[in-house]
Amino acid sequence: MATLSMSGLTKRFGDIEVIRGVDIDIADGEFVVFVGPSGCGKSTLLRMIAGLEDISGGELRIDDHLVNDMQPRDRGIAMVFQTYAIFPHMSVRENLGFGLTIAKVPKAEKEQRVMQAARILQMEHLLDRRPSQLSGGQRQRVAIGRAIVREPSVFLFDEPLSNLDAALRMDMRMEIGKLHEQLGATMIYVTHDQVEAMTLADRIVVIKDGIVQQVGAPMELYHQPANRFVAGFIGSPSMNFLPVEVQSVDHDSALVASTSLDAVRVPMRVEPLKSGDQALLGLRPQYLVPTNEQDAGQLHGTLSLVERLGSETVVDVNTRENTRLVAAIADDRTFETGTEIAFTFDPNRAHLFSAAGDGALNK
């Protein structure tokens, strides 16, 4: 079991700085998920923790030991790769026991630990197969099993499920969750699948362009995004951003309005704004409630597209100033495209952001 601490970590490839000062502390037994758009540096950060990339600046500590220059094998970590990286010329048994073979662990103990891992992942019957005789899900199990056998204090996963189909992905996701409960080890998990992040994580780290945007529990990120980028990145369908004008400001709330939005007072949590500022009002699609009476609504537009998914109905709306708005309405409802529609929402669930910049932290 181990704690992990990163302070001021940076990574350069030539002149390009890919990781730009990352500070995160991870507690013993915590499940931390790195998310972010493609190319933001998630894998690079994970590989720096693994010792596969060297660290250009800053400090990485595992259990309070500085490990910047420590070889991967000495860090007490195990890693599961997106492409599984199981050795094609070895049987499942040999793959699982590879690390122990290298470490010259006595045969009996090796056998026992391999069997135990196989039992945990319910693949005792696969032990004598070759990787080529396994399905994708089974291969990923072998890769995870190989990590388990080493009894590492930190597990590292780099998009382990992205090569699997949707149904299998859900099964494996649950299994990884169970595994974490069972082993109680520290786990760091890279993904760009929100559902994986939200369901698995104790804490989520949102990264953009090599900079940590926010660290927090899934619901914290969902309900109190630290900036517009995080607000837009977490949640599906993504949050709507409606251009509005600030009409007056209280000490922690603001009165905002636009052509399609009746004036409404919303909390001002993220950044201070002043009267007359252009701002963006963040509204989650799930929190928009359609009303039948035009005049009772706060937000007005025209229906342009209706998608009925059974469990919910997703509608696209053109507001009066012609911005696109998405609303997700629980349960199956029928709407007529082209008709006028109005929504109400709970102002306390709205987020107000400045319209300036791209909304993300930047150095």
Partner: protein
């Protein structure tokens, strides 16, 4: 750049590559530069005298070539002297270079070949005829073998690229001589080419009911080099067939279907689909053949020893004859360097041709 020692493995990296690199350095790179150095000395394999640096003298000796015009011998009255058969008499170059200051520069040189021009005789004189003959033969060998072997190889490749039952067996057979040593092949063909009891003569005799007279293929200066060319092509053509074949197989079958729909004839399909798709392969094949042809040695050594009348001398054969046979290391090295320059020129041409395509 300050790299941490984490992902750098300088010691292991060097240790692992060192055996290979040391061997290549010692046995390829060092001799390569040695060749340049030695070619500027008077080094012999075993010699009591110390080795001396002679600069470009060896090259000057070997590459010295000139065109001289000899005026006919005239008697006192100024009439051209002719012998009994009416052939014009010319002074001997040897005598001229001793007596006439204008010809002193040609001292020690010999006529390589010459021709009649009006009354005078033009002669190409060289200091080292054997070298020039070897160079000419080698270039001739290259110029004939490269296109002929390349062309036949392409024909064979097209032949075995057909979709027929058992085609793989034919591929295997055509390739067979490639795995047989050129030395073995040469000795075998010495028997086939033999003037008295050779297979070729006897077969020709039988097939033509005695109409074709026997030829001593390797004993006749006018057929020896040609015979060696034919055999060399026979031995190596399968090699290039395989290269063409892998080129052919990169051409998408849909292109042929398209050509078929357009109503193209077989020849048109080849001209407009196959051949453009083979451009790179063609360059490759020609280059590889040329390189191999420049190395012509074993056939000569086994079959003719450079004869008859030096008609089959080659550069490598001369290099070995001098460097090893006569223990004249510097002489052999000069030829090696010349050979290398030729090969380098060829690979530069290849670079240039393939770059052309990418633009």
């Amino acid at each position: 750049m300050a790299d941490s020692k984490l992902t750098r493995s300088n010691r292991t990296g060097w240790l692992m590559s060192l055996p290979g690199f040391t061997l290549v350095a010692l046995f390829i790179i060092v001799p390569f530069f040695f060749a340049f150095g030695l070619s500027m000395t008077n080094q012999r394999l075993v010699s009591p005298n110390p080795t001396k640096y002679v600069g470009l003298e060896n090259y000057r000796q070997m590459l010295d070539i000139a065109l001289v015009t000899l005026q006919p011998e005239r008697d006192a009255s100024g009439t051209v002297i002719r012998d009994d058969e009416g052939t014009i008499q010319y002074p001997r170059l040897r005598r001229l270079s001793r007596s006439d200051p204008a010809f002193e520069r040609y001292k020690g040189m010999r006529e390589w070949f010459g021709w009649q021009s009006g009354e005078s005789h033009k002669a190409v004189v060289v200091r080292d005829p054997l070298f020039w003959i070897a160079l000419r033969n080698t270039l001739l060998f290259v110029l004939v073998v490269a296109p002929v072997q390349g062309g036949i190889a392409l024909g064979l490749a097209l032949l075995v690229n057909q979709k027929l039952r058992g085609i793989n067996a034919f591929r295997t057979i055509y390739f067979m001589p490639v795995v047989v040593s050129i030395v073995v092949v040469s000795l075998l063909w010495r028997f086939i080419y033999d003037g008295n009891d050779g297979l070729l003569n006897n077969l020709l005799d039988t097939l033509s009911f005695g109409a074709i007279p026997g030829v001593d293929w390797l004993g006749n200066p006018s057929t020896a080099l040609g015979a060696i060319m034919a055999m060399s092509i026979w031995q190596a053509v399968g090699f290039h067939m395989v290269i063409w074949l892998s080129g052919l197989q990169t051409i998408s079958p849909t292109l042929y279907e398209a050509a078929d729909i357009e109503g193209a004839s077989k020849w048109q399909a080849f001209r407009y689909v196959t051949w453009p798709g083979l451009r790179n392969t063609a360059v490759l094949v020609i280059i590889v053949i040329t390189m191999q042809a420049f190395a012509l040695f074993a056939q000569i050594d086994v079959m003719t020893n450079g004869g008859p009348l030096d008609s089959t001398q080659s550069l490598v054969f001369q290099a070995v004859e001098r460097g090893y046979g006569k223990q004249d290391i510097s002489g052999g090295s000069v030829i090696s360097v010349v050979l290398f320059v030729l090969v380098l020129a060829i690979s530069l041409v290849q670079r240039w041709l393939t770059r052309d395509r990418q633009n």
